[in-house]
């Protein structure tokens, strides 16, 4: 072989140099989290929710307890104009001359000939009059927001007109700017209703008097308002609830309760878990066995029972708000999960070489735990914390939902859902708004937790 076939390998020094800046664990994790778009969006949502909770009430300064009686159960984007009208003038009604001795009894009571609206149909009053029915001793008026046809569903009986000469009725009961169906039924002397009815469809317009508008702060002075003018009522971006309270304001104040519990309780029980778990893991042996057995017992304790006991201990009666009993119950019963996780990590880390090295160099126990062990379990702890937030929010919502948490009038997302559920069929927005906030919050924390797990701990990385 010719000597020229060989060439000495040159040593390339550049291979040895580190071309990129060295990153700490947290810097590296942050880079990885930033690359995860889902987690990043979730992080922004979480920040936005916190801003919403903390600063929202300063921007949207509506009182969450104030009732807007002109707009009850108004869905978002509902028409909020009102027509200015003159002051209310009482109505005498319509009467007919009956033959002497009352009208003769008829074999069958018929439906009134026609039901008509007298004057304009307004939210302050709807005035109905109908043709008299032969033999009727009284009339009953029904109101429905749905068409009675074809099922004959007349709705709620709102008045009995007991004088057969009186063939009119003025409805002033809780009118909303909707289309109503009024049905009039004749009754005999015994109070038996006829099966025949006559229905009138009435489109009600929202009205307000000049004096009311001034009193509610909607107009400067009454002089500027003329009957027939239209006026804009107070704005409610997310609508109002069944008592006319602004949903956006209530959601902001409700977030204070829900997120307070959802964030503070997990913090508290994760810290308790860290202390407990690291003590068990570090000392080990019998002590560890004893502590972990106790943790197993705590897991088996019934949460609802302790919730109730704590409510009684805190002196919170039925139907009162108990934020602190709720938090204490969560903290006292939820720590074993975090404790077990931290213990497992500590047991693993305890055997690592660098712990031995540190010990050889004379490190004290406290230093080992605080400087080496806990910082190294921080990733797992942070992930646990993020996943604990949604479950705490769920627990709060559940407890308030069944009436063991926050009670009216304090808003929380759970109690708002509870209230909204009752009117779900007619005004679904009262349930949708708080339920959407709970869902978005839980979703954001879940996705953020996934992202943090992938970023912080390569071994726990999910297969998604």
């Amino acid at each position: 072989m010719a000597e020229l076939s060989f060439e000495p390998v040159r040593v390339e020094r550049e291979v040895e140099t580190i071309s990129r800046p060295s990153l700490s664990y947290w810097q590296d994790a942050w880079l990885r989290l930033k690359a995860n778009r889902r987690a990043l969006i979730s992080l922004y949502i979480v920040i936005a929710l916190l801003l919403f909770t903390v600063f929202g009430p300063f921007v949207w300064t509506v009182d969450p307890a104030a009732q807007d009686l002109d707009q009850i159960s108004a869905p978002p984007g509902a028409d909020r104009t009102a027509t200015v009208v003159d002051d209310y003038v009482p109505w005498r009604g319509v009467t007919v001359e009956l033959p002497a001795g009352g009208s003769p009894p008829a074999a069958e009571l018929l439906a009134p000939g026609a039901v008509s609206v007298q004057g304009p149909a307004e939210t302050r009053a709807v005035r109905l009059a109908w043709d008299p029915v032969n033999g009727a001793a009284a009339y009953r008026v029904y109101r429905n927001i749905l068409d009675p046809e074809p099922d004959g569903a007349l709705g709620l009986p709102i008045a009995d007109v007991l004088d057969p000469a009186q063939v009119s009725f003025e409805d002033r009961l809780d009118l909303k700017p909707l289309t109503y169906f009024y049905s009039v039924v004749a009754m005999d002397a015994l109070g038996n209703e006829s099966s025949a009815y006559r229905t009138a469809q009435v489109d009600v317009t929202r009205v307000i008097t000049a004096a009311e508008a001034v009193a509610k702060g909607l107009a400067e002075g009454g002089d500027a308002l003329q009957p027939g003018d239209t006026l804009k009522l107070a704005a409610h971006p997310l609508g109002t609830d069944y008592l006319g309270r602004d949903l956006l304001a209530r959601l902001m104040y409700g977030a204070r309760v829900s997120l307070f519990i959802g964030i503070v309780a997990p913090f508290a029980f994760v810290i308790l878990g860290i202390v407990y778990g690291s003590a068990a893991g570090f000392v080990g042996g019998r002590f560890d066995q004893l502590l972990m057995r106790f943790a197993d017992f705590v897991v088996a304790l019934p949460f609802l029972l302790f919730m109730i006991l704590l409510r009684i201990l805190f002196g919170v009666g039925a139907g009162e708000s108990g934020i602190y009993p709720m938090m204490v119950a969560m903290v006292l019963l939820s720590w074993p999960g975090a404790a077990r996780l931290v213990r497992g990590q500590i047991l693993q880390i305890r055997e690592e070489g660098y712990i031995g090295a540190s010990r050889l160099l004379g490190a004290k126990t406290n230093y080992l735990v605080l400087r080496h062990m806990i910082p190294n379990t921080m990733g797992v702890i942070l992930v646990t914390l993020t996943f604990a937030v949604p479950s705490a929010i769920f627990t709060e919502a559940f407890l308030s939902f069944i009436g063991m948490g926050v009670a009216p009038p304090t808003p929380s997302w759970g109690s708002m859902c509870n209230e909204g559920l009752k009117t779900m069929l007619t005004t679904p927005h009262e349930l949708i708004a708080p339920a959407a906030f709970i869902s978005i919050t839980v979703l954001a924390f879940n996705l953020l937790g996934d992202g943090l797990r992938d970023a912080l701990d390569a071994r726990m990385r999910s297969a998604e």
Binding site: A300, L304, I312, A397, F398, I402, I440, A463, E464
Partner: protein
Amino acid sequence: MLAYTIKRLLQGVITVWFIATATFFGMHAVPGDPLAADKEVPPEIWANLQARYGLDKPVPEQYVIYLGNMLKGDFGISYTQQNREVNDIIAEHFKVSATLGILAIVFAAFGGILWGALTALYRNRAPDIVIVFLVILGISVPSFVFAALGQLGVVNINNALGFTLFPVAGWGTVQHMIVPSMVLGLGTMAFLTRLMRSSMLEIANSDFIRTARSKGLPATRVFRKHQLRNAILPVVTVLGPSIAAITTGGFVVEMVFAIPGLGRYFVQAVQQLDYTVIMGTTVFYGAFLVFMVILVDLVYGLIDPRVRLE
């Protein structure tokens, strides 16, 4: 195996004893007289009532009597319904809760395995993306919202059909059971789907799957025999805690659908401070959950011979 079973059962008994003790002393630590009524009761009657419930004895003696009775399976008499035994109440209402819970867990387990397998099969394609989105939704929506939506759906279905296919509330027939159990199982199904999916994907990359493929097994056989079977194991592990969560967490569904289950009864008892019912139900539930977890662990050992029960 036998030694392990005995050890686990023993631990379970100790746990139940702990729950019973904690419940007993917890209830006695609460201020308030369980026999206090709205009406003023003459002292003689009150003393008689105390004697009937054994409340005139010192607390340690009460505790011993309580444990002794519990060993015999006797939880005593209800305070608010004074001619009803707690055992009767549990027997009557737990049947309903258990039926609901079993239906829900079956629905959740089958759904979870099916959807999880589908997502893994269609990884990163339309079915996968849709199901993963629904799963995230299922995990993030509270159960009472599902219950409300379920009921709304029932109303709409009945309206569209013109007759009552599913009753809106109540209990009794199979039609009553379908919607509530689906609602109850939905959250667990989402969770199991997610678990199944990650477990399927993990196994798809393992060596034995590659070996099975390279030796020429048809794809469906690899999927069914190797991938699916192994991927189900983690799902089985979490079934124990899931059964626990479903049977006890059925309260919301029981309330929304007006189902006479034990959960609803328990909360009622709690609100009325019905000591014996609270203690009896708590201990019963605790025991049920503890032994359910043990059962699932034992079954797991049978399904997967690699798992050594120690």
